[in-house]
Amino acid sequence: MKRKNNAKLQNKIAMITIYCLVGTVCLILLGILGYILGTGLPHVSWHFLTSESSSFQAHGGVRDQLFNSLYLLVLTLIISVPIALGAAIYLTEYARDNWLTNLLRTMIEVLSSLPSIVVGLFGYSLFVIKFELSFSILAGALTLTFFNLPLLTRNIEEALRTVPATQREAGLALGLSYWKTVYGVVLPSALPGIITGIVLSAGRIFGEAAALIYTAGQSNATVSYTDWNPFSPTSFLNVMRPAETLAVHIWKVNSEGLIPDATLVASATAAILVIVVLIFNVSARALGNFIYKKITSAR
């Protein structure tokens, strides 16, 4: 009887401890989120979203920064998703377990913990200086690709590994080639996990500042949103123009901004950043589920 009571007590203590820890995590997250939205949202207005930022006067907006952030995100994903997908497929499906692939995995792990400012300075010396791309969206996107690849590869690898080996056996036993099995059986099964991985890394890209300060730059050239020719210097699509993102804007306004309403602009920008990341997460998950249902025809 005594033993049983002990077990009950132990269980209770463990449960209470775990609840306390979870509660702390939730509290911290909600606190941060609440603070950012609480201080920022009151200053977000249509005007703020649709006007240019100003260098000296109050009441500037973040139109260009918002677009730049999204544009950089899309470009980075376009470059990094195929590479990461290929690398992850190689590592999970084809690579043999030997010193070379172990070395590769270790390198990916090391790279994924590289400080972003280091990646940024590397991008600066390679793309901006060596390849003479100057401060540009392209240099920023390439640097972010370097920054993003290790983690994205790991995420996709994890997603592929959750597909049971019996699925691969089923494909092979039907006389399918290994590639057809991977492409038609493993990838669709892993899709929700892959999309989650992409979304997680997208959040990181979207909020990244340090890697962009010296690559995409901190200044905005005047852009025209009606100029659809990507080779025109003033076009919003031009990848060779310097572009400040939301995260870089927050950093700049706070550290060297000359505008009188710097604190307000920074908080409002932070709120927008968080909201966009939230919207992106939710919609990407919905899209992922939709595609998965389409493929698996699960209702």
């Binding site: 019996t166 056996e169 089923a170 092979l172 006389g175 698996t296 209702r299």
Partner: protein, 260 residues
């Protein structure tokens, strides 16, 4: 032990192994010189304790052990040695299909589960695909249960239905031989009975080799039974002989449950 292995007349042989050896990781010797002749249009049961290498043997027959283990010796099918490195294993596996221990339908619709491999092989005509789906589902005795929900996810089916879908999927490739690796071990008794009924009906058209841990199942549906022990075949004969008058004491002990 050679004398306890029944010979099958050459014209009735569907598959034959000669001195098959399997090694894992270069040193672990799993299968010792196994020579077995498998009769056409019959069910051959492979019985034996866990670790007796019957599954290893089965998986060697359609080269699923490639890259996993080293398999030496000959596997004769249609007059040629299919354990040769020049054999196109993808082509071979269309002739020798396989059903696994746990149902493993693809995360696709019932229809796509059956047609994916066919499409990958270049079958595009939707009438042909429709027919293949119906034929194979009927052969696996699943048609009546799913004919109105062909485009629903295969993952929504019960375990027994999933396993019959896996059989249907294998049958759609029009194989000669079907290898079954404990196909009923994850199923409840009702589903098992249905599965056994299905296998019995398929016997006329297919050669089947089935690994099973269930003695009753082996005696109920198989025509021949091979008893594996520690990587060797101890005895191989018609099923009723193995179960009524085994010639080796070890076989008798295993069937009576006094070991294993």
């Amino acid at each position: 032990m050679e004398q306890y292995l029944t010979q099958i007349a050459p014209e009735q042989r569907s598959l034959e192994t000669k001195n098959l050896n399997v090694y894992y990781g270069g040193t672990i010797h799993k299968l010792h010189d196994v020579s077995l002749q498998i009769p056409q249009n019959a069910i051959t049961a492979l019985i034996g304790a866990s670790g007796s290498s019957k599954s290893t043997f089965l998986r060697s027959l359609n080269r699923m052990n490639d890259k996993v283990a080293k398999v030496t010796g000959q596997i004769i099918y249609a007059g040629i040695d299919i354990n040769h490195k020049d054999i196109n294993v993808y082509q071979l596996r269309k002739q020798i299909g396989m059903v696994f221990q746990r149902p493993n339908p693809f995360a696709k619709s019932i229809y796509d589960n059956i047609t994916y491999a066919l499409k990958a092989n270049g079958v595009k005509d939707s009438a042909v695909l429709d027919q293949a789906v119906e034929d194979s589902l009927r052969a696996a005795a699943l048609w009546d249960e799913v004919k109105d929900s062909l485009h629903k996810s295969a993952l929504a089916l019960s375990g027994g239905q999933q396993q019959r879908l896996c059989i249907a999927r294998a049958l759609a490739m029009k194989p000669d031989i079907l290898l079954l690796d404990e196909p009923a071990s994850a199923l409840d008794p009702v589903s098992t009975a249905k599965l056994e009924e299905t296998l019995k009906q398929l016997r006329d058209q297919y050669t089947m080799v089935m690994v099973t841990h269930n003695m009753q199942q082996a005696s109920r549906i198989s025509d021949y039974t091979a008893f594996f022990h520690m990587g060797n075949i101890v005895e191989y004969d018609r099923t009723e002989k193995i179960f009524t008058t085994p010639r080796v004491t070890l076989t008798e002990q295993y069937i009576n449950g006094s070991f294993g």
